[in-house]
Structure formats: structure tokens, C-alpha cells
């Protein structure tokens, strides 16, 4: 390397991350001096930080690929869109959660600060230009997530699931790191763009590379929650306080997508034949296990956890196609999934009240009688998640299916659609209890204004974007040419 390191530092490219870390420190300091009654300041500052980060990202908008820190950090249009979407998701998650946290006595600074740290990790993964950056991002995100799960200190279940999450997560990080080290040993580089070249030179079929790849794919699959690395998902979703479940079920999925794209599609693109086979197995297993086991669940959080696993199978379908079309489809699917998932968990928050978690499916009984509008919102979310048109989820499924059929994997598309029918059954069951059953109590839905308005918008978004999906699809197409 002949040019001086300092000239390629290019600090400004990472302004959003720098802003975010500064904001986290400030909020952390301010929070220390706040009494419980004025905790809203932390909340407001967190939202402000997100808005600020969005402004910085928009201001520094790039049209092509810009690298910084000697190539270990990249900014590109895809990353920009994913980051902006992540800010929005985190902001919505905070706003959804506020009321519930207050009621449960959990309205503390930690939720917001840890949430922002998770976001920072996500941003680093999204902008990763080298395997080391990827790893830093993954750890930053994961450690904060473990802490978030255990954040309700008095809950034994939450502590147990946090422990499970931590131990399994640590193993996965180890796998990932081990895979990285083997790849590094074979190619002599950690930087993704150089790696892509080096792998071609070494030969993508080289046993050592494939050996390393297996560990990387396993690590990625764990972060996604794909079968057979899915064991943590139901327990963590079920055990964590609902606002944390909502959080875990949304923004980190963006990171998983970015992780797969950066490492597999950018760094190891020439090994597509190898990772395609692995991802096919993971995807089919995820769709089968996720959908079949979800049928047996009576707890909505657990059911949604298994449904997440099956959706991961669909996201992997797009990635394993190994074409720009497929990556776009997977990105579109990820965004769609996050919109639907965050709304579904927010419905649980909406119906929960003092001392009562509305997290069993039967807690939705007769919702149409109590609140026709929110029953309709949940119905739209469920039909969308099931992939029934005209809702958004259908287009996401269509996009990944088209990508898969395009690479001559028609059988895989057929398997996927048949499993989508299996999935329809358990989503329909939720609609069944809301519409066909009579309510067992006469409690009215009395959640606060923010939650109601946001959730209404969330439900409408699923419908309106479902009728006019063009803009969102075009956005994904524009950033991933």
C-alpha cells in the first residue's frame, strides 16, 4: 500500500455512525441525572438522535460506492436506504413501546440506550467493508440485544432466555469468526472487495475456502434464525418483554440481510454455487419447521417467532438466487417483513393492560366486537404476513419467487408456495378468533393516542403499499443495480 493511510481515512463518510455514538454518550450522561418522572427526556432525546442521524445520512447521500478507513467501511445507496429504514423502524419501535414500558415500570433509559447501541451495530454491519468491520458490527448489535432481553430484571423467564440467547449467540459469533479466519488464511485479505478478487484467484472450489464458508453460513444463519440454527428464536421472542420482542423482531432483520449481502454476495460472490446449495437447505428447512411448528402454538409471540423462521426461509430464497434480482427481492422482502412484524407485535402491546399480557391467541377473541378497526388492522397484517394479495406481503413473496424461478429452481418455488399455504392456516386462526368468536370479557381497547395512530398507519401501509407496491420495489431496484 503506497498511499498514506490518513488520506484514505475519509472520516466524513462515517458521519452518521459518529453522530450516533456521540448521541448515545450524551443520552447516557443525561439519563444518569434524570429522575424517573422526567424519563421522557431520554425518550425524546433518543427520537431526536434518530432524526439527527437521518438528517446526517440524507445530507451525505452518496450516488456510488464510497469507501473510508482504508476500505474497511463503505457507504453506498443500498446501505443508505437500509440505514434510513432502520432509523424509522427503531423510532417506531420506541414509540410503540413507551406506553407499555411505563405501565410495566420498565420505562427506563436502558431500553432506549441499548436500542440505539443495537442500531449502531446494525449501521456498522450495513456499512461493513471488511470482515473485521462485519464482526464488530455483529458483536455490537448482539451484546446490546442480549442485555435488552434481560432488561426486565425481575422476570425469571426473560433472564433465562437472555442466557440462552447469549450462550448460543456467542457460539455463533465464534463460528463466524472462525470462518472469517479460515478465509483470511486462504486469501490473505479481510477486505471484502479484495476478497472477491482473491477468491477468484485461489479458485472458489478450493476445499479450504468451502470449509470456511460453511462456518460463515452457519453464523449468518444463526443471526437470521434459520433452521437448524433457530433454537433461540422461539424462546427469546417468548421470554423477552413484548417491547423487546417487537424490537428484536424488526430492526435486527435488516442487519441480518446486510450481513448476508456484504459477506456472501459481495465478498464471496464467486462461491455462489457453494453457498447456494447450503442456503437452499437452510431455506427449505426453515420454511418447513417454521410453518409446521407454528401451527401448534397457542402463544402469539411464540407463533410469530416460528412465523419469523419461515419468513427467513423466504428471505434466503431471494439471496440464494445469487442474482441482483434476487438481492433486490430479498431486500424488499426484509423491509416488508419488518413492517408487518412490528405491526403484529404492536397489536399485542395495544391489547395488553395493567397486569395482563395479551400474548395468547385467545386473548384476541371477539376483537371485532370490541374494536372493529383494530381487528381490521390485525386482519390486514395477518393476511399480509400470509402473503394473500392485495396486501404488501404478497408482493414480497412474488418478488422472491420470481427470482428463484429465474435461476431455474422452479421446484423450490413450488415447495415455497405450498408451505405458504400451510402458513396461511395459523394466520387464519388469529383472524378466526377475532372475527368468528365472541369476546370472553368486556374490556375496551383503551390504548393511548400515539399507539393507536401509529398502528393504524402501520395497518394502512400494508394495504396501501400492497395496492401500490411500485415505489418500494423501484427503490430496492435503484439501490441495487
Amino acid at each position: 500500500m503506497t498511499e498514506p493511510v490518513i488520506s484514505s481515512l475519509n472520516l466524513a463518510t462515517a458521519s452518521a455512525e459518529i453522530f450516533m455514538i456521540a448521541a448515545i454518550c450524551v443520552i447516557l450522561l443525561v439519563d444518569v441525572f434524570l429522575s424517573d418522572r422526567s424519563r421522557w427526556v431520554t425518550y425524546a432525546l433518543s427520537l431526536l438522535a434518530l432524526a439527527g442521524a437521518a438528517a446526517v445520512t440524507l445530507h451525505l447521500s452518496v450516488t456510488g460506492r464510497v469507501s473510508a478507513f482504508d476500505g474497511t467501511f463503505v457507504a453506498d445507496p443500498m446501505g443508505e436506504v437500509l440505514k434510513l429504514f432502520a432509523y424509522g423502524t427503531v423510532a417506531v419501535a420506541f414509540m410503540y413501546s413507551r406506553e407499555y414500558l411505563k405501565r410495566a415500570g420498565l420505562f427506563k433509559g436502558e431500553y432506549f440506550i441499548l436500542g440505539l447501541v443495537v442500531l449502531l451495530g446494525i449501521m456498522v454491519i450495513i456499512s461493513a467493508g471488511s470482515l473485521i468491520t462485519v464482526y464488530i458490527g455483529v458483536e455490537l448489535m448482539s451484546l446490546a440485544l442480549y442485555a435488552m432481553v434481560a432488561f426486565d430484571r425481575d422476570s425469571g423467564v426473560a433472564a433465562e432466555s437472555a442466557m440462552k440467547y447469549f450462550v448460543l449467540g456467542a457460539i455463533a459469533s465464534g463460528l463466524l469468526l472462525y470462518g472469517f479466519s479460515i478465509i483470511y488464511g486462504m486469501t490473505g485479505t479481510l477486505q471484502l472487495d479484495e476478497l472477491a478478487v482473491a477468491v477468484r484467484e485461489v479458485g472458489p472450489d478450493k476445499l479450504g475456502l468451502v470449509f470456511g464458508l460453511v462456518f460463515i453460513v452457519a453464523g449468518v444463519a444463526f443471526k437470521f434464525g434459520a433452521v437448524p440454527f433457530h433454537m433461540w428464536v422461539p424462546d427469546v421472542y417468548h421470554g423477552a418483554p413484548t417491547p423487546v420482542t417487537l424490537f428484536i423482531g424488526s430492526a435486527p432483520k435488516i442487519a441480518s440481510y446486510a450481513l448476508a449481502i456484504r459477506v456472501l454476495a459481495e465478498g464471496l460472490d464467486s462461491m455462489v454455487a457453494s453457498w447456494q446449495t447450503m442456503l437452499i437447505a437452510l431455506s427449505v428447512l426453515s420454511m418447513i419447521i417454521g410453518n409446521v411448528v407454528a401451527i401448534a402454538q397457542t402463544n402469539l409471540k411464540r407463533m410469530l417467532a416460528y412465523s419469523t423462521i419461515s419468513h427467513v426461509g423466504f428471505i434466503l430464497l431471494g439471496i440464494l438466487a445469487g442474482t441482483p434480482d434476487g438481492y433486490r427481492a430479498a431486500m424488499f422482502y426484509t423491509i416488508t417483513y419488518v413492517i408487518m412484524s412490528i405491526g403484529s407485535f404492536a397489536m399485542i402491546l395495544l391489547l395488553s393492560r395493567q397486569g395482563f399480557e395479551a400474548d395468547r391467541i385467545e386473548d384476541f377473541k371477539g376483537l371485532n366486537r370490541k374494536s372493529p378497526w383494530f381487528a381490521a388492522v390485525m386482519m390486514m397484517l395477518m393476511f399480509s404476513t400470509a402473503g394473500v394479495p392485495p396486501f404488501l406481503g404478497f408482493w414480497a413473496k412474488l418478488a422472491v419467487l420470481a427470482a428463484v424461478v429465474n435461476v431455474e429452481l422452479v421446484w423450490l418455488a413450488t415447495v415455497a408456495v405450498v408451505l405458504a399455504v400451510v402458513a396461511a392456516f395459523y394466520y387464519l386462526r388469529v383472524i378466526k378468533v377475532m372475527y368468528f368468536d365472541e369476546p370472553t370479557d368486556s374490556v375496551v381497547v383503551d390504548a393511548g393516542g400515539t399507539l393507536r395512530v401509529l398502528l393504524s398507519l402501520n395497518g394502512l401501509a400494508v394495504l396501501v403499499l400492497g395496492i401500490f407496491p411500485g415505489a418500494l420495489i423501484d427503490l430496492c431496484a435503484r439501490v441495487l443495480p
Binding site: P372, P389, F436
Partner: protein
């Protein structure tokens, strides 16, 4: 004559907007809600008649065409248009829906606003299915349509409604997802050819190898056969019919089943002609089994709705039989006229069955509202207390068994005639329906309508009120009119059917 305003869009969106308005209005002022529903559907019907009066019956092309960019990334267009096959089905849809609204006027007590809204939204979606000329738009509407029906059966249905509606939804959903994969496959084929498109017309012109055609044909067959429904995938229908509220049964029988037949004519025949020619024996045998075997099954039923449901399966067998006879006729002796006759018969049978089965379900609804039982054994001698109703019921029963001068005769006769040209045994088996149909319908009439008053419930029954009289009267007029004078229907279809026959004679290999 074409219009300067988008008539098809209005026919689709007006009921949907009306439905949403009803949902917003809620049950607060249901008297107003009912009128909103009635006026919306009546206006929609009125506008749809303009399709008929302004239809150009000299061309097979799409008319009243609309085309707007929808999803450029998928090359999907919001494109609508009707030809001689779609137009009558749209009018059937807009004709039956107001009758459903009138029939439900004060009968539905549980959340009536949502009930009417569901039917209005359903109407718009169903019209869209028949009007869509873009396969993706077609698919979206085809699936979306399941949602209101799922709710209708599940909320306002009978005791086993949850089972029935889940079965209905999952059965039809499973059928159609395979169709989606075929659509995607063909879309990508059009991309290979240079111009990505989901337009049905482009699919029809797309050259396809026989293997691909066979797979596509099977995928389509599953989707449409479930919808028709054909034996052996008909088992959802009796359950759905029995549990659905009267309006749901009517729409299901009168219109939703027709979508299967429409799908065969619009997709299977012209898109996969070679595969259809290869596998026509399969469809023909399934149809004949439906006609004969399901006819026997119908005789054995104890539940009126179930009996009519099985009779629907048998009658829809004629639709699929008529559609696929064409291949047999063309292969054996290039009989173009016979092929057109079969398809004509299938179309007339669809419209006619829509009217007759709808009317029969209304009749059962009338009885059910009074006695709250669908069991045949719960009735007997209804004619003594309800003479006017008895007259209607006998008329529709006769029409159902294919009595000449009713619409039921025309379609069946055309199909039987066409099957004679193909094979004597086809015609023989198809004609068995005339005996079986008469057997199960007339026996039903004998047990329910005639005889001595069976019990106190029947003795206490009151005859039709004005609302019910109106609904059944209009349907009776339509059934008779189509029976004695089917020419207006046949005339508008002729160029389209001829074009279709010509399309399927050209191999796509």
C-alpha cells in the same frame, strides 16, 4: 361504442367504495346502511347493462379497454377489458349481488353493516377478476376475493362455519398458488422473448414446449378445478355451501364457481392448447364422473343445501365437459362447429346455472328463515301454507333438471349435442344427468313442497313477503327468458368463441 369514461373501473370500484363507506358507517344507522348497499349495487347493475347495450358483437377483441401503469418493475399493468366471454359473467355478477342485498334486508341481525360491506367489496373484486386482462391483476383479485368470502362464511355461517370456511380458504388457496408459479414462469419466458409482460394476451401468444405446457396446464387445472369444483376436489363445496349464510351460498354458487370455468376458457385453453389436447381425456372423464357419480351422491342427501351443492358440482361438470370437448372434436374430425357448440354450451350453462342455483339457494334461505332447519325431513307439504313460494320452487327445480323452455335446458342440450359429435358414450353419460337431475330435484320437491303438512312448523309458515317475491320473481323471469330466447347471449359470445376455437387449433410447439 366505447365510452369516454372508464366504465369497467367504475364497476369494480363503485361497490368497493360503497363497501368501505358502509364499514365506516357501521351499525349505527343500519336503515341508511341498507339503502347505501342497495343503491350502490343497483347503480352498478344499471351501469353494467351499458356494457351489453354498447357491446360490439362483431369482434373478438377486448372492449372498453383501460390500461394504466401499475408496477413497472414487474411490468404489471392495471389493464381491463371484456370480450364476449367476460361480459355476460360481469352482468351476472352485478345482477345477482343486489338480489343478495335485498334478500338479506332485515334477515341479518348480527353486524349487518359488515355483512353488506363484505358483499359489496366482493362484488367489486369478482367483477375485476372477469375484467382483468393482466394476469397479475387477475391473480391479485382472484386471491383477494377469498378474504370477504372467508369472513362471510365464518361470521354469519352455521354451526360448523369455522371448519367450512377454513377448508374453503385453504383448498382454494392451495389451488391457486401453483397457478402463481406458472404465471411467474410464463412472465420470465416473455422476458426471454424481449418484452416482459403479464398480459394474458401475450401469454396466449407465447410459444411453449410441450413439457412446460403440461406442467402449466396441471397447475392451472388444479387452480380452476378446485374452483369449479370438479370431482375429486369438490369436497370443500358442500361444506362451504351448507355453512354459508344464504347470500354467501348464492354468490358462491352463482358466481365464484363460474370463475373456474372462466379460468379454463381464458387461460388453459388458449395458453396451453397442446397440453389441453394431450390431457383432454382427463378433464372429460373427471367431468363425466362429476355428472354421473355426483348426481347419485346428490340423490342421497338429507340436507337441502348439500343436495343443491352436489347438484352444482354435477352441473358444472357440463361446463368443463363442453370446454374440453373442443379438443376431442378437433382432433377426431376437425369439427370446428362442434367445438364452438361445446364452448357455447359451457358458457350458457355457466350463466344459467348461476341463475338457477342462486335461485334455489334463495328458496332454501326462505325456508330456513322460517323454520331454521335445512333438513329435508323437517319439511313437507309446504305448498299448503306457501302456495306462491311452492310455484317458484317447482319452477326452479324444473329448470335445475333441465326442462325445455328454461335456461337449464339450453346449456345442457348444447353440450350433449356437441358430445354426440365427439363420441356416443360421452353423450350417453352426459345425458344421464337428465334422469339423475330430475330424480334428485323432483324428489326433493316432492318431499319438501308437496304432500300433507308435515308438522306444526310448516303449518305456521307464512307465504313470501314482497321482498322475497321480488327476488325470486326476477330470477324466474331471467331463467325463462334465457330458456326461450338464448340468442342475445349466444350472439354476443359468437365472435369470441369462434376466435377461441381458432386459437386452440393452432399448436404452440
Amino acid at each position: 361504442m366505447q365510452f369516454t369514461w372508464p366504465i369497467l373501473s367504475v364497476l369494480i370500484w363503485l361497490p368497493i367504495v360503497g363497501g368501505v363507506a358502509l364499514l365506516v358507517l357501521g351499525d349505527r344507522n343500519i336503515a341508511l346502511g341498507r339503502w347505501v348497499a342497495l343503491i350502490t349495487t343497483a347503480v352498478t347493475f344499471g351501469l353494467s347493462t351499458l356494457l351489453y347495450t354498447n357491446f360490439d358483437a362483431t369482434t373478438a377483441g377486448m372492449q372498453f379497454v383501460e390500461k394504466l401503469a401499475w408496477i413497472p418493475a414487474f411490468s404489471a399493468w392495471y389493464s381491463l377489458g371484456v370480450d364476449g366471454i367476460a361480459m355476460p359473467l360481469i352482468i351476472l355478477t352485478t345482477f345477482v349481488t343486489p338480489l343478495v342485498v335485498i334478500a338479506a334486508w332485515t334477515v341479518i341481525e348480527k353486524r349487518p353493516a359488515q355483512y353488506f360491506a363484505a358483499f359489496l367489496i366482493l362484488e367489486g373484486l369478482m367483477t375485476g377478476v372477469f375484467a382483468a386482462t393482466d394476469a397479475l391483476l387477475f391473480y391479485v383479485l382472484w386471491e383477494a376475493m377469498l378474504i370477504p368470502m372467508f369472513i362471510i362464511i365464518g361470521v354469519w355461517g352455521g354451526a360448523r362455519r369455522v371448519y367450512a370456511t377454513l377448508k374453503f380458504f385453504l383448498y382454494t388457496f392451495l389451488g391457486s398458488v401453483l397457478m402463481l408459479v406458472s404465471l411467474i414462469y410464463m412472465y420470465l419466458k416473455t422476458c426471454d422473448a424481449g418484452q416482459c409482460s403479464y398480459a394474458i394476451a401475450d401469454f396466449q401468444n407465447l410459444p411453449l414446449a410441450l413439457n412446460a405446457q403440461l406442467l402449466i396446464f396441471v397447475a392451472f387445472m388444479v387452480a380452476f378445478a378446485v374452483k369449479v369444483p370438479m370431482w375429486p376436489v369438490h369436497t370443500w363445496l358442500p361444506d362451504a355451501h351448507v355453512e354459508a349464510p344464504t347470500g354467501g351460498s348464492v354468490i358462491l354458487a352463482a358466481i365464484m364457481l363460474k370463475m373456474g370455468g372462466y379460468g379454463f376458457l381464458r387461460f388453459s385453453l388458449p395458453i396451453t392448447p397442446d397440453a389441453s389436447a394431450e390431457l383432454d381425456w382427463l378433464i372429460i372423464s373427471m367431468s363425466l364422473i362429476a355428472v354421473v357419480y355426483i348426481g347419485f351422491v346428490a340423490i342421497a342427501q338429507k340436507d337441502m343445501k348439500k343436495l343443491i351443492a352436489y347438484s352444482s358440482v354435477a352441473h358444472m361438470g357440463f361446463v368443463t365437459l363442453g370446454s374440453f370437448l373442443a379438443f376431442d372434436l378437433l382432433q377426431v374430425n376437425g369439427d370446428v362447429r362442434g367445438a364452438a357448440m361445446g364452448i357455447d354450451g359451457a358458457m350458457v350453462q355457466m350463466i344459467s346455472h348461476g341463475l338457477i342455483s342462486g335461485a334455489l339457494f334463495f328458496c332454501v334461505g326462505v325456508l330456513y328463515d322460517r323454520v331454521h332447519s335445512r333438513e329435508i325431513a323437517a319439511y313437507g307439504g309446504v305448498i299448503n301454507t306457501m302456495p306462491i313460494f311452492g310455484a317458484f320452487a317447482v319452477l326452479f327445480a324444473m329448470a335445475n333438471s333441465g326442462l325445455p323452455a328454461t335456461s337449464g335446458f339450453v346449456g345442457e342440450f348444447l353440450v350433449i349435442l356437441a358430445s354426440f359429435r365427439a363420441d356416443f358414450w360421452y353423450a350417453f353419460l352426459a345425458a344421464v344427468t337428465l334422469i339423475l337431475g330430475a330424480a334428485y330435484t323432483l324428489w326433493l320437491v316432492k318431499r319438501v313442497i308437496f304432500g300433507a303438512v308435515a308438522n306444526d312448523n310448516v303449518a305456521a309458515m307464512t307465504d313470501l313477503n314482497g321482498r322475497e317475491f321480488f327476488v325470486l320473481g326476477i330470477l324466474a323471469v331471467a331463467v325463462l327468458l334465457l330458456g326461450v330466447w338464448p340468442a342475445p347471449l349466444l350472439d354476443v359470445m359468437r365472435p369470441t368463441v369462434e376466435h377461441l376455437v381458432q386459437q386452440i387449433t393452432v399448436s404452440k410447439l
